[in-house]
Symmetry: C2
DNA sequence: CGGGCAATTGAAGGGAATCAAGGCCGGTGG
DNA sequence: CCACCGGCCTTGATTCCCTTCAATTGCCCG
């Protein structure tokens, strides 16, 4: 089971949610805000490296990331790991586990993470009383689907260099959109092992591929993370046009 | 734009939907059935090979497959193609395009396909008046997400043989669940090029990989399609435990 | 009967995995 | 204070899975 380390409980009222201030997220109606603030049971804070949800568990909770980064992954019996996507502030976690019988992937914290915890039993009430929010849930699921589509294209048809370029450009743009500190350089808090497990490559070859990108001055590998110097250059290598979105979160 | 060939319009009333009879799909309440039968504008029949939806289009429709097979795919500028998933009877098509601004993938018919066409403008009414159906929409999107997750695991971490075995077992089980003719041998109406584009392999290597499976008597390549002889054997090679589902469709 | 598509097979080359080893750095304990 | 250790990054050498190039067959169709 998950190894939590609770550090605190309910803290940030939804009315003062810092994410809400970002252009990136849509505003609630007063009624929705009222509902959501009751939907939220509390907050959960976990350390970097902690398992937030694990494959096979059936008592899944529903969360939204309030701060920090995490990632979703699946594993084969012999230990091979595939990272499916990364979770950043505003992302919903555990929807699959809530709707289906059990989780079919795990979620791990990449940095210290704060989560808003929701009552899964009230989910039906959400659909019944706030169709706009129900619509949002579907929207969020469809958005995740899109990301996975692009990821599949990457793994199936892009070369190692293109794959790496796509991933880094993608992460950079998302990180930028959810950053609370505008203008600040965004640094990705991941190791090369994470990148390798995302791209479906070995760590050795990932390292060599990243070196090529660094040689071209597109990225720079900093201590325990990666700085993106030229996201447009990366997107161009990958043949990727970018995401267009006006997201709608939850919290 | 899409190259349709309409062969007929509204034909099968939702009340007599043949898919509804399958255990695999959940039943509607009378109110839901009533709503859906108005939600459905008509039917569209296209030939094998026709493009049902194409990437970049923004006037997307919303469809459910009534009969036949299709597939979703994305392409890179230079023509490399990645098949994302296959669409079978009961599957919803175009949800992403309906919720977002435009389609980011294309859909093509693999066999002659009949589609139920829905009014996208009534989608809000669906969420507002039939929360159960709204819930289903989210469920469907989450289910697709799961499939993509497993696919991503395949492309990233499984060997060519494992990948092929997984794909064939997966398609077989889905085909079986949506087949109207029980007991009949299910034959997959796809070419090796489709398989190659799904697995992210070249067609030559796909051919050699399928040969290995055929040599082990797990499959047999028939004229213009593939017969599955031992889906459990395939699943075992792939290290795949199967899908558990009680689906909920639409029509 | 020519032509095109799908499947098939051989041969050669390359991209990525694997094996192996070394450097850097922060943490820990004697 | 410094030796030891483990995690992460890096690099060289070798192997092999898969791609690419090329050519043949069989079949359906106009």
């Amino acid at each position: 089971m998950a190894t939590f380390k609770k550090r605190q409980s309910k803290q940030t009222p939804c009315q003062q949610c810092p994410l809400r201030a970002l252009d990136h997220f849509r505003d609630f109606t007063p009624e929705e805000l009222e509902f959501v603030s009751h939907f939220k049971m509390g907050e959960l804070a976990v350390d970097a490296g902690a398992t937030i949800l694990s494959e096979g568990a059936n008592s899944a909770h529903l969360f939204t990331v309030l701060s920090g980064w995490g990632f979703r992954y699946k594993m084969l019996d012999d230990g091979r790991r595939q990272i499916l996507n990364y979770m950043m502030p505003g992302d919903l976690i555990g929807l699959q586990g809530t709707l289906m019988h059990e989780m079919q992937h795990s979620v791990e914290a990449l940095s210290p993470v704060t989560l808003c915890v929701f009552e899964r039993d009230k989910l039906h009430k959400l659909f019944a009383n706030h169709p706009g929010l129900g619509y949002d849930m579907t929207w969020i699921a469809a958005q995740e689907e899109r990301i996975l589509d692009e990821n599949l294209l990457s793994l199936g048809r892009r070369s190692a260099l293109e794959r790496a370029a796509y991933l880094l450009a993608f992460l950079y743009r998302r990180a930028e959109a959810t950053s609370l500190f505008e203008g600040q350089r965004v640094s990705l808090p991941i190791t090369q092992q994470h990148i390798a497990d995302t791209l479906g490559l070995s760590i050795v070859h990932t390292n060599r591929t990243l070196r090529k990108l660094a040689d071209r001055k597109l990225i720079r590998w900093a201590e325990r993370g990666c700085d993106i110097l030229d996201d447009k250059g990366l997107a161009q290598i990958a043949g990727w046009s970018g995401i267009q979105e006006i997201e709608r979160p939850f919290v």
